[in-house]
Symmetry: D2
Subunit: 346 residues, 4 copies
Amino acid sequence: MLNVAIVGASGYTGLELIRILYCHPEVAVTCLTSEQSAGKRVSDVFPTLRGRCDLVLENLEPVRVAEKADVIFTALPHKAAMEVVPTFLKLGKTVIDLSADYRLSDPEVYGAWYEKHLNPANLKKAVYGLPEIRRTKIKGARLVANPGCYPTSIILGLAPLLKKGLIDPHSIIADSASGTSGAGRSAKVDGLYCEVNEGFKAYGVGGAHRHTPEIEQELSLLAGAGLKITFTPHLVPMDRGILSTIYATPTKVATTEKLVALYEEFYSGEPFVRVLPQGSLPSTAFVRGSNFCDIAPLVDGRTGRIIVVSAIDNLVKGASGQAVQNMNLACGFPETLGLDGLALFP
Amino acid sequence: MLNVAIVGASGYTGLELIRILYCHPEVAVTCLTSEQSAGKRVSDVFPTLRGRCDLVLENLEPVRVAEKADVIFTALPHKAAMEVVPTFLKLGKTVIDLSADYRLSDPEVYGAWYEKHLNPANLKKAVYGLPEIRRTKIKGARLVANPGCYPTSIILGLAPLLKKGLIDPHSIIADSASGTSGAGRSAKVDGLYCEVNEGFKAYGVGGAHRHTPEIEQELSLLAGAGLKITFTPHLVPMDRGILSTIYATPTKVATTEKLVALYEEFYSGEPFVRVLPQGSLPSTAFVRGSNFCDIAPLVDGRTGRIIVVSAIDNLVKGASGQAVQNMNLACGFPETLGLDGLALFP
Amino acid sequence: MLNVAIVGASGYTGLELIRILYCHPEVAVTCLTSEQSAGKRVSDVFPTLRGRCDLVLENLEPVRVAEKADVIFTALPHKAAMEVVPTFLKLGKTVIDLSADYRLSDPEVYGAWYEKHLNPANLKKAVYGLPEIRRTKIKGARLVANPGCYPTSIILGLAPLLKKGLIDPHSIIADSASGTSGAGRSAKVDGLYCEVNEGFKAYGVGGAHRHTPEIEQELSLLAGAGLKITFTPHLVPMDRGILSTIYATPTKVATTEKLVALYEEFYSGEPFVRVLPQGSLPSTAFVRGSNFCDIAPLVDGRTGRIIVVSAIDNLVKGASGQAVQNMNLACGFPETLGLDGLALFP
Amino acid sequence: MLNVAIVGASGYTGLELIRILYCHPEVAVTCLTSEQSAGKRVSDVFPTLRGRCDLVLENLEPVRVAEKADVIFTALPHKAAMEVVPTFLKLGKTVIDLSADYRLSDPEVYGAWYEKHLNPANLKKAVYGLPEIRRTKIKGARLVANPGCYPTSIILGLAPLLKKGLIDPHSIIADSASGTSGAGRSAKVDGLYCEVNEGFKAYGVGGAHRHTPEIEQELSLLAGAGLKITFTPHLVPMDRGILSTIYATPTKVATTEKLVALYEEFYSGEPFVRVLPQGSLPSTAFVRGSNFCDIAPLVDGRTGRIIVVSAIDNLVKGASGQAVQNMNLACGFPETLGLDGLALFP
């Protein structure tokens, strides 16, 4: 049994890690931390866990955490993660970091979008944890930078096209919409039920969202050349799910049939990517609670544009599920262990 | 007092017409029809009306309807509208048609997207009822083709740019999302609460939605040349509202500041269009139940693209509210009469 | 035109007052206060108001407020209200207080459920503002204590039975459920969308909710003798609405038919109470945004118990709509002025 | 491996059975039937299953079904179940019936609430499948009548009190609220998103709901004497979950502390019942997707009444989860096999 700690366990991604790992046959969760709720039982914060996981939440003392665990998931805000990750690494632990701190390989870019990076040394060691495009490097990695939720949906949606050079890399527009859990669990008027319910809105329009450089970094690598995208996130009155509708101009005439075939080949053997047959479209409802990414590529016959629609659960494939997938790869377990659960519908 | 009939009063747009007209000081609703529920009181179908509007729903017999009303709102499915509108016109009535039947000026286009048009003669007399761009013609019109919900949000969003030639007309991508009332009130598994709730999805992707030719017709007129767009509708788990996020390539370098100034000028004096100040973005929650269209134009500084976000209530500015606005114009009432109500929030 | 101030205008009841009064023909809103958002335009806090009500929110300085208004709505938390109401009264203003501060006639009871009452002198002058049972006293009143939302639904539901002595006053169980706007607009984890959505729960079970003494006070007056009730509030994942399902043991055998007749007679002529015909049941959806209280009384044939189901919009008949109704009565306007709007459905 | 068939697999309980059994280590789902969708792949009806369970839905031919399976779950409407169950039993199969057909031991009662019973012979062999009160009989049973969702929540809520004679059996009022999935997956206007969303209502008030006799049968057995209850179901705008708030008059003075102790003892060792500590209350959100029943008993100090609040997921402990629990017991597997999943929150 592998002993695992979750640092930052009183947020939604922390809870989702506990939920998934509870059914993982090779893992024991031995330590949970929370600054806000230290001293409480995690099942008092999240009554779903009552009787199944009643650990007491601890203050985050890195050395003590490291004593209790072999693998540490850091589910902290940015900056807070890079304040403790170096210690965990020094103590020989494997870290799956769910924050943004190790996703951007260039500390200058990090500095431009967040603040000065505190730990550029480890940036180079970090592996961007999107298994479908970086599986080999994740195996055995000591520090995995778990991708953002929007980036996961957009990169998986575009990877086959960019790899094959089938679209103009400067033509990409990604229009995404997320459930509310993506905004986290801190008390804000903006996040109140009555403020969110029965409303749909865009935010961070015009390239203001911090996932933008992460998406561009990975798409540029796939394209083999720098590119910039237009990315617009929206907020949906629902708990979970991200749907990305992505537009691009093809470099030569395309057909839906060929696109579907290309995607099926590209993702053949992938346990968590489902390429939908022509005529089907994804919905966040069909991946809720599961680690799947459903993708439908197609051609708009009237304008010739390529459109790709992809759906994930932002807390699973977009965060904690992918983190467990990365842990499985990093630690040598079968990649799908603990991630077999089907989506909850309705 | 003007006597008004609503033909097709047991759907959501019919109900919304009743709700709005109930507070209109110059109108009396004298006749309601419904094929499904004829013989029932409308307040048994919609208990919101109990004690305020208890008319009995009648079968649709055009001559009898025309005897009772000066103005007739046809809130019928396409085809059903053009089967009765000619009779109403012959009998000297004013018709505000909420169906698609008189929106497309070219019967060939109608035929390609719907079916053979039954009443091309009246097509020419019909005025497309978007007051902000066709006000003069609507005044005194005898047949107003009330615009579709998606088209309203997209055309109002793009009119200033196309009129001024500020965008490449072939670069337009309109990514829209609608509340569920847009799908109507007929019994379908797809529309069940559990099928819609907690899910976000695209539909009609790739130019399949029937509002596409309507949008293109009006945008082409504004641009002064034919154009095609990519239009993707999405379904949001909420009752009301449409948000359109629209992308286009500018013909010359633009700034958000200038765009906002342009829109403010273009829509200055418009009672129902609110151009938001730089930095603000619309939400469907802020127009729910009202006849407003909120618009924010801006420039994506990273890619240079122009993005316009617009929000309406699909049942008000996107249907019944706009229909009353058109009636006011057609009948010589002040344009805002009965439409003063502020949005219901939360 | 009557000049009106709303003290505490950045909460949901404050906004709802603005929405309703905007369509009131005899009233001008001249002053809005908010401690949190003073200095901002109210339309920046609530974008629904943009272009229609753009007043700047002020700090609460009672004398300055009184200079600007004849009638003052206090939409403040308890205690904050009684800190300013005496000043308003001294300056000759009419006050409609939406807080709990003047609802309980006995300051001891107030002390037991809230804290020491600061202004017992005015308690005696306050009129409990439920027009259906206290209309005469409200006419011309200078201080109206606007009822709580749960109490409104329960008292209107039981008044006919208690007045006629038809139920055992000690047998009453009121099981109520409220939309989330009842919890107000302050930032709390408990109120976040993800915490509320897709969950239904009871709270304050066992007589812990502060509306309990208010309900008991009024029911006791109707019954002509002291009584205690079991009252259980629940939280529903929706914005607005309260439904109360109320159980009582009849003093003699009852039939649904007779109950409906009794209720129809008791509420005959009431503009905002709708007694539903036998076989119909209320839904909060049918009163949303309106000032109606829909009521269905019936007998459970198997156990003989009487069940009354009542529905209101907690922000309208349960707060701001009723406050305007009270203002109309207090100021001599027609009782329904500004309150004609039909419910918004869907 | 046990081969299992699900008869009626295109409804929500059918899908939930597939979801749960997919993770059950001792079971293979080998046959699915659906009258509506025969010939389609189940993953075309429910895209959540794509790539994991792609069986083709068959017509219901009992003998062919029986050839493919050892255990058969019948997730059919009432009447349809008893038309096929006798064949399955004759062919030596074990049946877990999720319909109402074998829950009422007295065919006269069934006749009064449904229609003439077609298979009274097997009624006697059927075991009411509530493991917490009937575990011994379920072990090895050939026909298990899986309880209704409301009955499960109410019977588990009251069992300790009735067994110990602590409440007046004629005083019981059960006020329950259910998510919308309880209404099934057939196309009805009543079930549309816009009809359900943002509304809360009671239905079947006054003893009209067909779960009433089932609840009374089981409560009477626990009490050792016939009793009648007042049962009011409500509809909540959410997908899943039932919360029951149950009221009863104690036979002697009770305290919350003692009640909690009693419940803890009564349910000690039960894997799926969680008695909450004093001060905690259940929410349907905390059991969503799990097989738990959370219960909080307490005393209303002001009136002396006992109140019990219980929460389940109507599709899991209220239907398919409990069915798998019953299968485990009937077939000799560990009772919790396949049912370890924690609730999905948010």
